[in-house]
Homo-oligomer: 338 residues x 2
């Protein structure tokens, strides 16, 4: 019998189906067992009598009848909540060992090493999976918007003969008899490719050998980079970045509402004209509102950025803010004044 | 005046336009100069009188009138071949130095070091650009087909603590006080992510420290990887791979016809049922047709593969062929018999 995907069961009430998936939860009520089954499309409740013992995360095949649930047992929170499967045949394809932690809870609450040591388990938790689902939508929608605006995608190299931004925070690779480095940025490559395609972007890995463990420091990240020719002013770039970010936020908001709901969060809010300040204006504003005097500093530090964002959010409702006009001597040679 | 993209000029006959781009060729006929202008959308012929001297690859702005070309001067080979620009105002934004080689020829004919040392020039040549355009379409259509078939895209790590396939052909990275490696394959990661998403794929960099320089040996490549759960036999995987490859070929054929024409090549041809042989059958066939006896070998070497492909092409018309049934002891531990 051909496999039915769980998402398709809602259109098959009264029919026999063959399902395949992972047992995400088991509830034993004596003779009757409730099994929550998960496949790539969804989850569904299955009910069986006198089933063999099965452990959570086991892989199973289930033959059964799709039945409409009684009105008062409908679960409005899931797509298959108004149906359930009456199990007729139950095959354990691969029985999971006893789990090192409870996968059935709403929160995993694991420390990071445990989470990573059991990646094949922790990844299956809805809240962990959600993070990667949002990641996919962010990258896809960045790519989508770029292509809508004539940007050409190229593959930037990871191994480079020199460092783009200098500094010690670079990983060295033993490249035969030469020294090579993991790229910190596709900057110089995208500027070269731009001369052939005018508008280019790259979704690529960049690497920073920063031993700190903060949300601002990761050794390997996916970088969304773009470069465009024939701008009239830095505001052309700002406007493209602004539209790109807003497009990505809109897509995440639409396509990931379930994932955001799991975390009880909303996407950052934005307004039509994203507030735009020079570094000086930003520093003046921080001084005016917090009395912290960073006027004359050549950059914003993380505390400045947090303060500025809170002030702007309060004044305008926008979580986004542009700051321009950094002194060029703090920046690499290829950076324009604004 | 707002910029007009070159591709839009064909709908603006009789209108004044402002164009921006690179001079891809200059022909000087005394008072009259012909300039081929390139932007991200196309190229177009522009004609001016008493223009200032301009070098190829310079960046220019051109204000001019879009004119229909006389019937006998139409160039059917390019999209803008039935129009030309009568230059009214000509601004050299950035004058190119004298070029190290002739960019105007149909073939660049450069050795690889020269090509790479002048990447910002060589990349602008139509035949070089074409390679990257086909690359983009290959990757896009792989991604498209995967998504159409419920595969989830994840970002596989580049830096790994251990090697997936063993062997000496791995790049070592100085990772703080530890040893780490550049990934040779996302294999183990995709098998883990598969348990959370059932069908997964990854477009990611893999690295091989192989000093040979052949088309089969590159230190850094973009790998298109997929993994699917709940197969009934290896033929499910074969069929998915088969459909994926054919989809990609179809897309390249449709979207890259101009690029393929530049090289005078066609996409590999395929037939509905891609020829599928066991290793033994393949070796028997090679022996039968070439008298070269590789029966009993545990793998196909490059010569075997070439011979087999030629035989299959002749017999069936297919450039594609599947070979299954390799002895598992020649393969890493995670590989199934077929």
């Amino acid at each position: 019998m051909d496999r039915t995907l769980i998402s398709q069961t809602v259109n098959k009430i009264g029919e026999k189906v063959h399902l395949r998936g992972w047992v995400s939860a088991v509830r034993d009520h004596g003779k009757i067992t409730f099994i929550e089954l998960r496949d790539r499309t969804s989850t569904i409740q299955c009910v069986g009598v006198d089933l063999p013992k099965v452990t959570p995360q086991s892989v199973v095949y289930i033959d059964g009848l799709v039945k409409k649930r009684p009105e008062k047992l409908v679960n409005a929170n899931i797509a298959t909540g108004h149906v359930e499967i009456e199990i007729q045949n139950f095959t354990i394809v691969s029985k999971a060992q006893e789990l090192p932690f409870d996968m059935g809870k709403e929160e995993l609450n694991l420390d990071l090493p445990t989470m990573l040591d059991h990646r094949s388990l922790s990844l299956r938790h809805p809240k962990v999976r959600a993070i990667f689902e949002v990641q996919e939508v962010v990258i896809d929608s960045f790519r989508e918007f770029m292509k809508q605006n004539d940007f050409f995608e190229f593959q930037a190299p990871a191994i480079t003969p020199a460092t783009a931004e200098g500094g010690a925070e670079v990983f060295q690779v033993d490249y035969f008899d030469k020294k090579a480095y993991l790229t910190q940025s596709p900057q110089l490559y995208k500027q070269i490719v731009m001369t052939a395609f005018e508008r280019v972007f790259s979704v690529n890995k960049v690497f920073r050998a920063e031993p700190s463990v903060t949300t601002r420091h990761l050794t390997e990240i996916v970088s969304l980079d773009a470069e465009m020719g024939f701008i009239d002013s830095w505001e052309d770039v700002k406007n493209m970045a602004d539209k790109t970010i807003k497009y990505v936020l809109d897509q995440v908001s639409t396509k990931c509402s379930a994932q955001l709901a799991l975390f009880g969060v909303e996407i950052p809010s934005y307004i039509e004209n994203t507030p735009t300040l020079s570094l000086r204006e930003a520093q003046d504003k921080i001084f005016e509102k917090t009395k912290r005097d960073v006027r004359g500093e050549k950059d914003l530090n993380p505390e400045d950025e947090r303060d500025l964002c809170m002030i702007i959010k309060k004044e305008t409702g926008s979580d986004l803010v542009f700051v321009y006009g950094y002194p060029t001597r703090k920046k690499p040679f290829y950076v324009y004044p604004d």
